[in-house]
């Protein structure tokens, strides 16, 4: 898994953002290190702490760094000069909270640095989609519609539709299959989007009662479509009578 570094002026903000992201993944989160605050309890950032955090989570798979604002960005760029690792380290321009959540989920599913970076940068689009505002510079990558007859339609039965937790569960589950799946909201016409994209799934704005269309290609497409369909029918474990744990 790639490593993730979270740089913030505020240790409390960084911890909370990471905790929110960890809600979405199970027992095997990616390596995450926080560099927040400066000096003795000062709200601010310290480039040497950022460098230490990068070194703590660095591996051959690379490191993606998220920053809140202002000096966090300056300290992160300076940390690239202080760090010991020679592995690839990339500074993300993704929105802080959305980017961290998207990255942790996709990284936990074993995605590459390129995939996690791209997904995080598109993280504003889910919010824009929910507010019916046009995407600005970065778009959720549109996906070619795939073979019709391999798809199934499922009505969402869980109380909150495809919100972040079921979306994260889908991303994680789909990582196990050698297949490329897409999900569309057949009720509203949104999508299709890649089923390994947390942000893409959220951008469908799929609510309870909406029909989602699951399609796939690849050697294990049929199994993957069936598995995802079963998760949806099961309400992603969120139906009162089927709920297992949290």
């Amino acid at each position: 898994m790639i490593g993730i570094v979270v740089v913030s002026h505020s240790p409390a903000l960084a911890r909370s953002a990471v905790d929110l992201a960890l809600e979405m993944v199970g027992e095997s989160p990616p390596p995450i290190a926080i560099a927040a605050g400066a000096g003795d309890g000062i709200i601010g950032t310290d480039a040497t702490r950022v460098a230490d955090a990068i070194d703590e989570v660095a591996s051959a798979e690379g490191v993606l760094v998220f920053m809140d604002l202002g000096s966090a960005v300056l300290s992160a760029t300076m940390a690239l000069e202080f760090m010991a690792t020679t592995e690839e380290v990339r500074l993300s321009d993704a929105p802080f909270v959305e980017g961290i959540v998207a990255a942790v989920v996709l990284a936990a599913a074993g995605a590459s640095l390129d995939e996690v970076d791209g997904e995080s940068r598109a993280a504003m689009d889910a919010k824009r989609g929910q507010l019916d505002r046009q995407p600005a510079a970065v778009h959720v990558k549109p996906v070619e519609a795939v073979i019709e007859n391999s798809g199934i339609d499922v009505t969402l039965v869980n109380p909150d539709g495809l919100h972040s937790r079921p979306a994260a569960a889908i991303v994680k589950a789909m990582a196990a299959f050698e297949a490329t799946l897409t999900i569309a909201n057949a009720t509203t016409g949104k999508g299709p989007v890649a089923a390994n994209s947390l942000i893409g799934i959220l951008s469908l704005g799929a609510n309870t009662g909406d029909v989602i269309r699951i399609s796939g290609t690849g050697p294990q497409a049929a199994e993957a479509v069936e598995a995802l369909g079963a998760m949806a029918v099961d309400g992603f474990g969120e139906l009162p009578d089927t709920r297992i744990g949290a």
């Binding site: 000096g39 000062i42 702490r49 202002g70």
Partner: protein, 218 residues
């Protein structure tokens, strides 16, 4: 006061005087920053420079003071990076780190070497902050100061007179930030409303050159 070269002790004196000035004017710097920023520039700079002087004092007390200019400025830069917290940490930190690398393992700087070190520091600030002249930042005081320093040295002045010319130019550069609209840093969030205020970073940079001029015997 000074001869041709600036000694290690004089550079420590410069840092000490800069600490005194930013501490004396802490409230003023913070007032400037409260108008267009997040009201912490005075306290950040004072805390940072006090940490720098404490570090220098501690090394002296241990019997292990910096014995070369690169060592001194590396220690200064790293102390600012770890103790300031705000954007002035990486910016002033980069300034001193680059100065040290360019100065090298020497114990004094002649005019040309002083200019080269300061130029390297400015280059570091420009690279780190991605600011240009006229963006209403510390660059607007530092760049004209270094131009004046070079012009003065080229005209045959000694380091003290050149530092005095640099201070005058930094002050003029600082004053020229008042009508500017900020394009970098926290003040840029205010857009047009940032005009009509002196830039806090340019103001502390003018103090940096005031301290240099004072120390070299203006």
């Amino acid at each position: 006061m000074t001869t041709g070269a600036v000694s290690l002790d004089q550079l420590v004196g410069w840092l000490s005087r800069f600490r005194d000035l930013v501490t004396e004017q802490q409230g003023y710097l913070t007032d400037l920053d409260s108008a267009i920023g997040d009201a912490d520039h005075g306290s950040n700079m004072s805390r940072g420079m006090n940490a720098v002087m404490e570090k220098i004092g501690a090394l002296q007390a241990e019997g292990a003071p910096a014995t070369s200019i690169d060592g001194l400025f590396k220690s200064v830069g790293m102390t600012l990076v770890t103790s300031v917290g705000g954007a002035s940490g990486p910016l002033y930190g980069t300034f001193f780190l680059r100065m040290g690398v360019t100065a090298g393992p020497v114990t004094s700087l002649d005019g040309a070497a002083l200019s080269a070190a300061l130029r390297a520091g400015l280059g570091g600030v420009l690279a780190r902050g991605k600011a240009e002249a006229g963006d209403k930042t510390m660059v607007d005081a530092m760049a004209p100061a270094l131009d004046a320093l070079d012009a003065s040295l080229d005209a045959g002045a000694d380091c003290a007179a050149a530092a005095s010319a640099a201070f005058d130019a930094a002050t003029a550069g600082r004053d020229a930030t008042e009508p500017l609209v900020a394009r970098k840093g926290r003040a840029s969030y205010l857009g047009e409303r940032s005009a009509g205020h002196l830039d806090p970073g340019a103001t502390s940079t003018a103090l940096l050159f005031e301290a240099l001029a004072d120390t070299l015997g203006r």
